[in-house]
Amino acid sequence: MRKRYSMMLSCQQASHMVSRGFDRGLGLGERISLRFHLAICDRCASFKKQLAFLRRAVRRLGSGA
C-alpha cells in the first residue's frame, strides 16, 4: 500500500529518501521536504551521517587496510 505523501515526513519515509539522495534519486520537492525534516530530526540526521560513513568505509575496502 502506498503511504500518503505529505509535508510532514515520518522517519521511515525520510530514511528511504536519505538513501535515494545518495544515488541522486530525489526530485526538487523531495529534497526540500527532506531538508526540512533533517533540520528538525536529530535521529534522521544521525542516520544520514551513518550512511555517509558507510560510503567512506566501503570505498576503502581493498585498499590495503
Binding site: 544515488d23 535521529r43 550512511l51 560510503r55 575496502l61
Partner: protein, 181 residues
C-alpha cells in the same frame, strides 16, 4: 619463481576473499582472480614504480569482477528477490519514527583499524547476493544507479530498494557488531 611472481601469488588469498564478497560464487570468484593474476604477470612492466601491489591488483580485479557480473547478468535477472522492507519495520515505532538511533562517536577512527574492515566484510557477507551486488556496484565500484539497473536487469525503483535494504542492513550490522561493542 621470481620475486614478482611470488609476490603476486602471495596476494591470491586476499583477492579471492575480495572477489567472493562481491560475486557470491566461489567458482566465479576463482576465475576472476585467476584472470587477474595472469593479467598482472603479463603486465609486470606497468607495475614498475608503483608502491602498493595489493592496490594495483585490486584495480585489475575490479574490472574482472564487472566482467563476471555482466556474464552472470541473465542468471541474476531470474533470481528471486528475498527479504522485504518489513525486515526493517522493527527499527521504527508505530508512528514511523526511529525507535532508537545511537550516535556513532568518531566513526572515522575505525577506518584505521583492520578489525573494523573484517567486521564490515562479515556484514556484507550476510546480505542477499543481489542486494550485495547492487550495493558494491554503487558504493565500491562507483557505478551510477541507471548503470546498476542495466547490469542487474532491474527497474530503477527496484534498484533503489536494493540499495536501501543494503544500507539499512549494514548500518544495523555495524551498530550491533562494531559500534555497540
Amino acid at each position: 619463481m621470481n620475486d614478482f611472481r611470488s609476490a603476486v601469488e602471495g596476494q591470491r588469498p586476499y583477492l579471492l576473499r575480495f572477489a567472493a564478497l562481491q560475486l557470491r560464487d566461489r567458482h566465479a570468484a576463482e576465475d576472476a582472480v585467476q584472470e587477474t593474476l595472469l593479467a598482472a604477470l603479463a603486465a609486470e612492466a606497468s607495475f614498475a614504480g608503483r608502491s602498493n601491489l595489493r592496490t594495483w591488483l585490486t584495480g585489475i580485479l575490479k574490472h574482472k569482477i564487472i566482467d563476471a557480473i555482466r556474464r552472470a547478468g541473465s542468471e541474476t535477472a531470474r533470481e528471486v528477490a528475498v527479504g522485504s522492507d518489513a525486515d526493517f519495520d522493527a527499527l521504527f515505532d508505530q508512528t514511523g519514527h526511529w525507535a532508537e538511533m545511537p550516535v556513532w562517536k568518531n566513526p572515522d577512527a575505525s577506518l584505521e583499524q583492520s578489525q573494523f574492515f573484517k567486521t564490515l566484510e562479515e556484514c556484507l557477507e550476510r546480505l542477499p547476493a543481489k542486494t550485495a551486488r547492487a550495493f558494491m556496484l554503487r558504493e565500491h565500484l562507483g557505478f551510477e544507479t541507471d548503470e546498476i539497473c542495466k547490469e542487474l536487469a532491474v527497474t530503477p525503483t527496484h534498484c533503489w530498494v536494493l540499495l536501501y535494504r543494503a544500507r539499512m542492513a549494514l548500518r544495523t550490522c555495524l551498530d550491533v557488531n562494531w559500534f555497540g561493542k
